[in-house]
Symmetry: C2
Subunit: 313 residues, 2 copies
């Protein structure tokens, strides 16, 4: 039986309020971002990336993350996180009292230069000081590695390079490493090959996958990752984040779609799918456009149908 | 290794020109349907459901299937098929020279009554004469079973019932049985359980899956089916067919998404993905709305981006 041995519980890591909103054209107010965070917490999400301490010049959508974090309940059941690119970001994180931060780098040199404006070596050098400083200050630090499944500039990315970067981050002290299929090119056997290579050096409990659904393969890749024992999966409410280059095309894996599949397989998440759909509907209303998440669309369609008195599905 | 033993080659069965078009609001002319069929054949598709001999009163989108079939090359590399609901449909099929037909029924009584306007027993009784008559006349007969993963009226459908219906159809002489997740509620462990039950009685070579992507799980279910040794998968170009009740929501699994995943896994299909995307773009143009297939959207987005001189992906 192919699907016999899968994790009994998956930890869903919500990236909508950060990775999602930073790729949306419309910037939300701190007030609206707080409403969205509240809806996600009400649905039972317990790990939420709430913002970023990257300069608002680069990502205006996530400006005022400090003010936002100060209004959250940081001692409650939800662990909030935010991105820190450098020492200045870490100072901001420490000043507003957040308990978890995330560092990020690319597995390809071209993507690092073009999107993060520094080389992979420069990013690693920065984090070699930053991560121990953050952990010494009592923060948990998560690490992101982008374009692991493929780079828009270089194409295939050698797995050995991903393993080296991953190991370096783990040695610096990140508690978890999220591997990103940033442009959504991955397929399941590739997912398995990448994870097997990493699992030779890093325990499954320290690994997460961050899958984009650009070519529809995100859930199939998630299934392959579950088969490798990975029990932490990133997702974005409603699929928030869209796609950087195609109107209507999709980026992030939608949290509802992931949770629907997991629950259907008897895998627990602690999340209430109905309330999660409500959070997705709120996200749609705030952002002012329909989101691509399929469970969200199906639920909205069902409601429209019922309100019109339709009987046939 | 979870994904080690999968079929080396998958037979893709194209349902866009039938299951797709019959669920579209806009009816295409025979001329336009022929253009779409030509594009699919040019992409290397060799099994295409081209229409239906159901009464045009019920499905006006597929009227004139006889005239359409008469203009196809029925002796070439592509095997065309059409639905036959009854003896009258079979007469039409024989008159126009098609070599393959398909019969269809529901696994749930309510769905059968509401959507096919007859009971499951009535459908089986009809086919008990029809299938042998068709095979005696030299036709290949495919069978469809709908709502195997769940019924919009009854919810869960007992697997034992599906097995009984499937076995009855195979005994009548259908060469292949396509199991439908008609409302797109399936998840991978359920897919595996359904297929295991069927595989106790019917060889894998006689089984196909027909998955809808309404909740985003179609490719993950396809992966589970591959893991059970299923090597025939139905799909619809561009995801043609939409969703009967939700604007923007999706029905059929898009052929390009399936082929993208299969090729990425080293599984052959004989299909040229680039030409298939071109067929999807033609389908979009003919139907007059964007289709939901993700590979199609990503490819279109990429083209828009390049035409605008954008550098960043």
């Amino acid at each position: 039986m192919m699907l016999e041995h899968l994790p009994a519980r998956v930890s869903v890591y919500e990236v909508g309020p950060r990775d999602g909103l930073q790729n949306e054209a419309r910037a939300l107010s701190v007030e609206d971002r707080l409403r969205l965070l509240g809806a996600l917490a009400a649905a039972g999400e317990t790990r939420i990336e709430a913002g970023s301490f990257v300069s608002p010049r680069w990502i205006p959508q996530l400006a005022d993350t400090d003010a936002l974090i100060r209004r959250l309940d940081l001692g409650g059941p939800v662990s909030y996180s935010a991105l820190v690119p450098n020492r200045q970001g870490l100072e901001r994180a420490l000043a507003c009292g957040i308990r978890e931060v995330a560092v990020f780098l690319s597995a390809s040199e071209s993507h690092s230069q073009k999107n993060l404006r520094r080389s992979v070596a420069e990013a690693l050098a920065t984090y070699r000081d930053l991560v121990p400083a953050a952990t010494a200050a009592g923060l948990r630090v998560r690490g992101y590695v982008s374009v692991v499944w493929g780079c828009p500039y270089e194409g295939a990315v050698p797995v050995a390079r991903v393993v080296d970067i991953a190991q370096a981050l783990v040695e610096m002290g990140v508690y978890e490493l999220s591997l990103g299929d940033t442009i959504g090119v991955g397929t399941p056997r590739q997912t398995e090959a990448i994870l097997r290579a990493l699992l030779d050096r890093i325990p499954a409990g320290k690994l997460a996958v961050h899958l984009h659904d650009t070519r529809g393969t995100a859930l199939a890749n998630a299934l392959a990752a579950l088969g490798c024992g990975i029990a932490t999966i990133d997702a974005s409410v409603g699929g928030l984040g869209g796609c950087p280059y195609a109107p209507g095309a999709s980026g992030n894996l939608a949290t509802e779609d992931l949770v629907y599949m997991l629950h259907g397989m008897g895998i627990e998440t602690g999340i209430d799918l109905g309330k999660l759909v409500a959070a997705g509907e709120l996200a749609q209303a705030l952002i002012g456009r329909p989101l691509h998440g399929k469970v969200l669309q199906a639920a909205s369609g069902e409601r429209i149908r019922k309100s019109q008195g339709g009987a046939d599905a």
